[in-house]
Symmetry: C2
Subunit: 760 residues, 2 copies
């Protein structure tokens, strides 16, 4: 087991790493050449069009104002300055609600840590429970002296831990409830103040039955004219645009290659670039690159236009789904929240997500397919989750250095080098896990896509919950159970299923040091790495050198990225779980978690303000998921504490501890009934208020024009300024920045009043 | 353990009892004097006004036509004759769907029994597995030779049982799915063909917030005029009429006493009845009974009228709930299925049940109260269920006659009398349980009332599900575990929680004989007793002698009763559970269950046609509950078989058996998605079709008049012909039968064409 020293070394390494990242960031961010990487949000919003220059040659690329290097950490207070309402305007409610998860972590764990360190640590420290173990083959470290393991069996001191469990439960529930309430209110206010948007009036209809006598368009029109006569306005058919997507994709690649060749030509001037037509461009006939790609792009453009015409006029490509728009929000709210047809598998209606949130590929899936896909994914997920454990188990086993020494005695001299040992123990398990986990979100996202969700937001929510389950089983349980398997495999194999919670409970205090390293590597260094944006930085500069010809290309070369709910939230939830589980067992873990939450809050706030460009706005719809997972973590922590205490011969406490999960479940049911509807339904009263206001303000509004093409397939919209994009040979005539195209809904044409302090 | 002989004696006793009941019924039913007890349904429907007389003196009271005695069982084919669609017209859909539960039992178990007896019984019988147990202290009977216990451990013959489990699962699921589909269709057709009724247009609104500036009536009017401007029609406030109810109740008692005294006076003629005013009418001042009660009735009538006026004019008694009626079914469907206000605890809307189905006392309960009451009831139910086991355990222990002999050796000579032993073993356990269970439904009903449900139908559904859980734990598990506790208590106490399913599984074959007796006593004799209607018969004749003065009084003296979903359905479900559990273990149980289902189907069909008067019509809304419970029973049976086989060292079968519950759960989810919406939601398309039809047929319908007082408190309605009821001194002027008052919705004014065969 790791000693205090090992932890100290690991902490030092991680702190240094994090600090290095911050310094690198501080230097990089004030270089004008990196401006688009570190402040893309402002470009997207149209509030900044070129990097600020301090004058003189070279200042276009590097910052020569040395005073700005001194204030290298001043982005931190800046990130905290923007008030919340303005942040909602600036970045959308989703981002603000997401940041509040970190705040919630601080609000929950800071007071708990204070109580734990004043009340529990002295109680744990002044014992000699662990000394008795010295002769057995279970190793322990000084850190364990701060934990519950240090208290001898059956000691009356366990009452302190019992009280602590109550304090944790009540405080967590209190904070959760307050937060749920706040966020429900924020969401309702946000929706109430929101501008007119197509999705407020639109319902997505799926599983439209086929009729031999009527086309899908006629069917939709008739059905809604009959069944919603006073409210139905218009509808928009959904096309199967997979061929078009393909063409657009190919054209983009060709365009990139063309740009690359053009740039090459501009630089070398004299000779025109030549490409080979054979295998991978290595052999075969030589042709003029610029001419070849120009002709390719042109022919593809023609094909795209033809395909679009075909889609627009023909009815063959129409899938049995449609976006139906209503005259009022009231009408849409009614249609979205009721069942239309006698057959519950037909005419399924739901709120349409925002146009940019729609995942078009899944709209056409029939009811039966969806069910079958769900089963397939469930099975696949099961196997993914449980067979993934094999490599994890192997890596975890390496983390236990004494285990390695026992297994491979010849490695002993190497490992015993003090620094090396600390590094192995501090880094190895965390990093190996991290690499494993890096590829996982993509697989899970593909699974969700296959499962048939129709909006990016729901895809991300689903992927997040799968990722959390995965982390819970493989990182949390896997680390605890497999890790100790090396120490007490024999003991464990001979136990009945009934005793497993107890075994897990017993192992928890022993894994505290592992999780501390994990938090430092995955949390601290990860967050610091996030702000450096190394990957986007490199990609941007590569693209900038080879592909960028216009300002518009440069805009597209920047990938501002998004918060990434499907990867970020499960990570936070793992820390909630660790915090809650260890709060009553080894409170030494809490400061590390608090540092993570604090650091992450500042970093992500900075990123939300300056970098991320959310692809959709769900108005905080994910909060019920967040709430549910924290509650689950709380219940898990109570059960494990129960298991742990019962092995400590403090079984008198079991009935008292059993009360806690029951209360927590009751609390969850209460919250669900009280606050969840705000995230699921849209009250008719609200709809009516907005409708009435609008009717008074704009009595002769042409809504029909407002909906025209609002829900057209994105590829349709991409092509609208195809001719403009074709302007490859006229580099003088720069296409203007189209702020509305990729902007947030709420982009204000005027600069925000708090704007100045943020643009360096 | 009971031997084949014991079972034979018990069966003989039960068959004789059942037969005696049937003969008694055959004799009683053709006596004109009992006509109102055995054919109340026809009186209520107004199709019969006085009993049929065969002529001659005395024929008014007893049937002197001896030919009719010969055909004493001819009610059975008669009961089966009425075709289903007419039965729906005659008795409502609820009754028809209820009868289909018995049919479902026959459809599931008859083919299973055929397969089991041809395939499994020979496999079980031709073994000697039980002979090995002869020397141990576990006793067994010949019946066990037919069961799975007779197969030696680890025998390859268990593959037959495994296949049987698959056959049972697939057949049961197939029948369940077909039935769910049928009943969903029946319900939709029934609702589509249904006449205009207030509840199609009405929504119950609860938790109306209080407003210092507006009364509740104004608030409701304003809210719905604003939020449902095109559809809102009118509303009806709900009054707190508890005082009125009390007065009406007291008046009814006084009226009964007055009637009694009047009758007494008519008979004795000379002297007027005298009553004493003191304690319990035994001492104190003497007054003239008729005068006293007349004055009491009159003063109470005055008070009632005053109270009603006060309620009607005042606003103080209005509770924060209202029945809001809409211009169209579409409007009501929309309002019932959407959320109205931002706060999900206010303005809660749901479909109003039929006026006669409403349980008025609970309408005013606020949201928080409901939650608290739910918790209290959950705790109370927990204690009721688990502490009730103590007396059951005691009674069950008596059922084991060898146990008694061991405990009280001096009783041995008495018990060893062959007949007495058989009687004790055949009757005792069943009857004791039955008496325990008789009082339970009332307690559970009170619990449901306290919990705050607002319609009788939902109260009954809730009470039914609680009763089922109770029976499952106490009758099924309780009998198995506690019963065997006498035999293997030591073995059982020393097992871990993990092995309990195995223990239950092992005990199952041993309890087959107990459950056979239980089925005979509870099922066969119970059903036969149901048709005799002994309690209503006695009460009717008592009332008829002392309290009845007018035909109307006589009408009220008959209690036709209802099907009693909350007691009947859980009983059927217990048989489903027993059938499914024993089908693969001891198929000998199946014939007994099939006889029960067949007999019950005929008897209840007769009762539905001739006796029961349903108090409400929910259009088969309880079917999802029925379906869910059968599926649960199926899963329990699979798990127990798994437990049983794993103790039989046939653990190779476990993975194959584990597939079954997974498949069954998948099946349940599928059915839920596919058919449950038909029982929960009301599709807008259906509503629109009905609205359009109605608008075409009756363009100038005055709906407002239609709703007036539709949802008035029943006491308001009772009092409407109070003056008529006061006509105590004018016995000549009989009040006419008010067929609409207690009739079913669908009472046809014309006699049914299939009518004649049913009136004897």
């Amino acid at each position: 087991m790791a000693t205090i020293n090992d932890i100290g070394v690991a902490a030092a390494i991680n702190i240094v790493t994090a600090f290095a990242f911050f310094i690198a960031f501080a230097i990089f961010r004030i270089q004008p050449v990196n401006d688009r990487v570190y402040f893309p949000k402002w470009y997207i919003k149209g509030l900044r069009t070129s990097s600020i220059q301090t004058g003189g040659f070279g200042s276009k690329f590097i910052n020569l104002d040395f005073r700005s290097y001194v204030r290298f950490l001043n982005w931190m207070p800046e990130a905290l300055k923007m008030p919340e309402p303005e942040l909602v305007d600036h970045a959308g409610l989703d981002s603000v609600v997401y940041l509040r998860i970190y705040l919630l972590g601080l609000k929950i764990f800071f007071p708990i840590a204070c109580v734990a360190f004043t009340a529990m640590v002295p109680v744990n420290w002044t014992n000699k429970g662990l000394d008795g173990l010295k002769h057995s083959n279970i190793s322990y470290s000084d850190i364990d002296k701060l934990s519950l393991s240090n208290i001898p069996n059956g000691s009356p001191r366990f009452w302190v831990h019992l009280c602590m469990a109550y304090v944790i439960t009540f405080w967590t529930c209190f904070m959760l409830k307050r937060e749920y309430q706040n966020i429900a209110l924020m969401r309702l206010q946000f929706l109430a103040n929101d501008e007119r948007r197509p999705n407020q009036f639109t319902v997505l209809v799926r599983n439209i039955p086929t009729d031999p006598h009527e086309s899908i368009c006629e069917l939709v029109e008739h059905f809604f004219k009959v069944n919603h006569p006073d409210h139905y306005l218009t509808f928009q058919a959904v096309h199967d645009a997979s061929k078009l997507s393909e063409l657009v994709q190919t054209r983009k690649q060709m365009q990139n290659l063309l740009d690359y060749n053009l740039n090459k030509h501009t630089r070398t001037l004299s000779k025109r670039p030549v490409i080979k037509m054979g295998f991978l461009g290595c052999c075969g006939e030589e042709v003029d690159g610029i001419k070849y790609y120009t002709s390719m792009v042109e022919s593809l453009t023609r094909e795209i236009i033809e395909e679009k015409d075909k889609l627009r006029t023909g009815t063959k490509s129409i899938v049995p789904a449609a976006f139906v728009s209503f005259k009022s929000r009231w009408g849409a709210a009614v249609c979205a929240q009721t069942q239309q047809s006698r057959d519950p598998t037909e005419w399924l209606t739901e709120w349409a997500a925002e146009p940019r949130d729609i995942y078009y590929d899944n709209l056409a899936l029939p009811y039966v397919d969806l069910k079958i896909r769900r089963i397939i994914v469930a099975v696949a997920y099961f196997f993914l989750t449980f067979f993934f454990m094999i490599p994890i188990a192997f890596v975890q086993s390496l983390a236990n250095i004494e285990g390695i020494e026992k297994a491979f005695p010849f490695l002993k001299p190497l490992i015993e080098v003090k620094l090396l040992k600390s590094i192995i123990q501090g880094f190895l398990p965390g990093i190996a896990l991290k690499i494993f986990l890096m590829f996982l979100p993509r697989i899970l996202m593909q699974m969700s896509k296959f499962e048939g969700f129709v909006s990016t937001s729901s895809l991300e929510r689903r992927a997040a919950s799968r990722f959390y389950m995965f982390q819970f089983i493989n990182v949390f349980l896997g680390s605890i159970v497999t890790g100790t398997a090396f120490q007490q495999l024999n003991k464990f194999l001979n136990q009945s299923a009934n005793d497993i919670p107890k075994t897990i409970g017993v192992s928890i205090p022993m894994k505290a040091t592992f999780f501390i390293t994990y938090i430092m590597v995955d949390g601290w260094a990860g967050v610091a790495g996030e702000i450096l944006r190394l990957k986007p930085l490199i990609i941007y500069h590569l693209k900038n050198s080879f592909l960028v010809r216009t300002e518009k290309d440069r805009e597209e070369a920047t990938d501002p990225g998004t918060i990434g709910f499907n990867t970020g939230e499960p990570q936070i939830q793992l820390y909630f779980l660790l915090g809650l589980v260890y709060a009553a067992v080894s409170p030494i873990l809490l400061p590390f978690i608090i540092v993570f939450f604090g650091l992450a809050y500042v970093v992500y706030r900075h990123q939300v303000i300056n970098v991320y460009n959310q692809k959709y706005e769900s108005a905080g719809k994910f909060w019920p998921d967040v709430h549910r997972r924290v509650v689950t973590a709380l219940i898990v922590s109570q059960l494990l504490l129960m298991g742990l205490l019962s092995t400590k011969q403090a079984s008198k406490s079991t009935p008292l501890l059993l009360v806690l999960p029951v209360l927590t479940i009751g609390f969850h049911i209460h919250c669900k009934g009280r606050y969840q509807p705000a995230f699921v339904t849209y009250p008719l009263q609200e709809a009516m208020i907005k409708d009435t206001l609008e009717r008074t303000r704009e009595p002769d509004l042409n809504l029909k024009a407002f909906f025209r093409n609002a829900y057209a397939h994105p590829e349709f919209r991409v092509g609208e300024n195809l001719e403009l994009e074709m302007a490859v040979e006229k580099p003088d005539k720069l296409p203007e920045l189209v702020a509305t195209k990729r902007g947030s809904w709420r982009n204000t044409p005027l600069p925000s009043k708090h704007n100045s302090p943020y643009s360096p």
